[in-house]
Symmetry: C2
Subunit: 465 residues, 2 copies
């Protein structure tokens, strides 16, 4: 890409060099991790720590100011108090850096004085043509070049196809969790903070055209700037890629807290926002766990074209709860074809053959685990009345674990499978093996059903246009 | 207790001896665990495995039939096919056992033939004065005498004050999870299955008068028998102990699945049921995870008298989400007294001192973790406008972990605390230490808020009478 054609956010995600103002050798300070993560994760660009007195940090030369760095500087991460930030921004302008990301808080969310500083920063950078993320933001992450800004230790960046836009550093308290608990593999992440300059519309525009990003998750507390433009862009984007939205500040108290948090003025009611999201083709998540469940399902599974769901369980009670979850999720329990029902008599006693959810505990009173699994999954795969499967996975022995992974992976090649684990403790390894083989695992049957429902809903919206 | 005065369920929970029909030495059969759990957990009564040919099992003498056992038999667990169960019941009647628990399925949930067998079993046991749990049930668990019936390996029974009534063996796929993931400590558990004889009203009656049970969780798919009597008993019970209810078969598809699952005829609509539960003073959970969250909060925390909640976070974004959750949970974000707000200026910059949620990431840009924690928690504890605390717990070092546990445990002595962990992976040990010290941990801030909301709601109902 030539310099002329680069999107301004490309300097944030793909800088050739990063300067960190506020770098420190004090391990008890959150700022320590700004540089240590870049070093530890092996960021592929150049790193320039900036500190008034330090000479060396983690083997890197430390500079007293941004303008004292000899090389060109693409991105500057500023993590000093609000009062000092303006001077650093002036220095960045003098150095003619390409982009700035400001972590410090205490600006527009803090009152008149902070607002004035923001205004002055915006004027200075605007005149210089420098784009700014934040303030009050922790950005960015790009798994392609191991660039990661965070206030805590990051051990691994799992590369994948999910792009995230946050209006909060919440991801940074969740960074290990995103990878290890939710097994989310991401392409890029941007936290927008106060959205003084760069707004969700800019981030969405960038991720929409980013080839490494196949699905987008947005956490937002408000729409900044031109809501109409954002919604138009949302509609264009969802025609190509799914977008999952978690909107906080839903309630009056939440909106007030959000205003204090990022200085945003929350104008529109939640119902208006909900309607706008629907028109934009986005999938809305109710809470944080659902947000990660929904992004996960797009991370793992291909399009789902029908809504007829088979459920296989080790607990009839959990099966009924999963069936209950279908209605809200827009799915219906699959009714098997008569011939397939008949074939299930091989493994189920006659009174069990006809209904969904299918209970392994019944079959296993008469047959082995392997016989039960093969009999059931073959039947469900053969049946044209079944579009997808939610499975409560279990196996008592390593051999059964292995068989479950093999059978469900094979199934998932033809019809999407979402799993939950019967016993999340003894089944921890089973869950990890399923996810490594491409079958997403959720923490309950109800949540697996809701996630498949989101998958179905997106393709319904997309194909309904 | 003299024999005359014993509640009939006392023979189920406190039998002096248990016979297991269907015992097997085949480790790949779920029936294997029926005896191995009793042996492994060191059930304090006598164990009599029953099998037509085996002579010895896990060091125990095996009997060819129940009636061939020389001693008195209090409880018989029957785990053979539906077709063979009737003969075993006849044998139990001949032996004059005190109670029976039937695990097998294929009775009223399976059609006319199964219904007939149930009717005949009920006639026989009714005439003999023998009470029956199930069929299609996995009962009981009593942590006081290490009696546990389950189709999978159980490693530990954590004794506590929660009593569970399930209409499903779902707990048995969750048994390790209940203890290790949710850290639920239970007194007794009964799975009612098809409720041929013993119904939820009987189980509730027993747990209501059980001194070891301080809170009750009920999972039900239907009300069997006299709904009016159940609701009257529910009202009496909730005047003494909290009762959390998870009702499945909420939707039409779910009700149909529940009918197939346990043979129950689901009569009333979900709205009528909801109203009845409210009149009975019960707390209703929306899904399985919420059910365990709600029972957990009663398991850990004392009464909560006010609804003014302080929230302390490491992520402003997660804080806003937690504030959003207040409205639905019946809690309000606490507004601090002016003097306490003033005292927070010691740790927060001026723009942060006045609002809830309180963000550690802001304070920690200026102060150490310990200073921030002490400053904030002391202020919130002193403030009469704060009734309870939801805290996103974190600590970067072992020292900070230890300090967090100490500070929150001290807080919890005066005002209830519910926690979630900022990074559930690196904070796993922190979560375990908090729970060992009596502070319950939930998987998100929103869920911690909803759980405290359930706690508040119960005491509001109880004291409002």
């Amino acid at each position: 890409m030539t310099e002329e054609k680069r999107h301004f956010l490309d300097y944030v995600f793909n800088p050739r060099s990063v300067a960190v103002v506020g770098a420190t050798d004090k391990k008890e300070s959150v700022n320590y991790y700004l540089v240590s993560n870049l070093v530890g994760l092996k960021y592929t660009g150049k790193i320039y720590p900036v500190h008034p007195r330090l000479k060396e940090l983690l083997g890197l030369k430390v500079y007293p100011s941004v303008s004292s760095i000899e090389d060109e500087v693409d991105l500057v991460v500023i993590s000093v108090g609000a009062g000092k930030t303006l001077d650093v921004v002036r220095d960045c302008v003098a150095k003619r850096v390409k982009a700035i990301s400001i972590t410090a808080g205490g600006f527009s969310e803090g009152g008149a004085e902070g607002k004035n500083i923001e205004r002055e920063m915006l004027r200075l950078t605007g005149e210089a043509g420098i784009r700014v993320v934040g303030p009050n933001a922790l950005s960015p992450i790009n798994t392609a070049n191991n660039l990661a800004v965070g206030f805590g230790p990051m051990k691994i960046l799992a590369r994948g196809n999910l792009g995230f836009i946050f209006q909060s550093g919440l991801y940074q308290t969740r960074i290990n969790w995103l990878y290890s608990h939710f097994k989310l593999r991401m392409s890029k992440l941007i936290d927008l903070g106060n959205k003084m300059d760069i707004k969700e519309v800019d981030a969405l525009e960038y991720l929409a055209q980013d080839d490494e990003t196949k699905a987008i998750g947005i956490h937002m507390e408000s729409i900044a700037g031109d809501a109409r433009r954002f919604l138009k862009l949302l509609k264009q984007t969802t025609a190509q890629k799914p977008v999952v939205v978690l909107k906080s500040g839903r309630t009056e108290a939440g909106a007030k807290a959000a205003s204090s948090h990022t200085g945003a003025i929350i104008k529109s009611g939640d119902i208006a926002f909900d309607t706008a999201l629907k028109q934009g083709g986005a999938i809305r998540a109710r809470d944080l766990e659902e947000f990660f469940d929904f992004t996960k399902v797009f991370n793992y599974l291909p399009p789902l074209k029908g809504n007829r769901l088979a459920i296989s369980v080790f607990s009839g009670g959990e099966g009924v709860l999963a069936i209950d979850a279908c209605q809200g999720a827009g799915l219906v329990p699959a009714e098997l074809s008569p011939s397939v029902q008949h074939s299930l008599r091989k493994i189920f006693p006659p009174w069990e053959s006809s209904y969904n959810p299918f209970d392994f505990n019944v079959s296993m009173q008469f047959h082995s685990f392997v016989e039960s699994a093969d009999g059931l999954y073959t039947a469900l795969l053969d049946d044209p009345n079944v579009d997808c499967l939610v499975v409560q996975a279990w196996g008592f022995s390593p051999h059964e674990h292995e068989h479950a992974v093999k059978a469900l992976t094979a199934f998932n090649k033809y019809k999407p499978v979402a799993a939950w684990i019967a016993d999340p403790l003894s089944g921890k390894e089973l869950g990890e093996n399923l996810e490594a083989a491409g079958v997403p695992v959720f923490s309950s049957g109800e949540r697996a059903v809701r996630a498949l429902g989101a998958l179905h809903k997106y393709y319904q919206i997309k194909n309904g246009r």
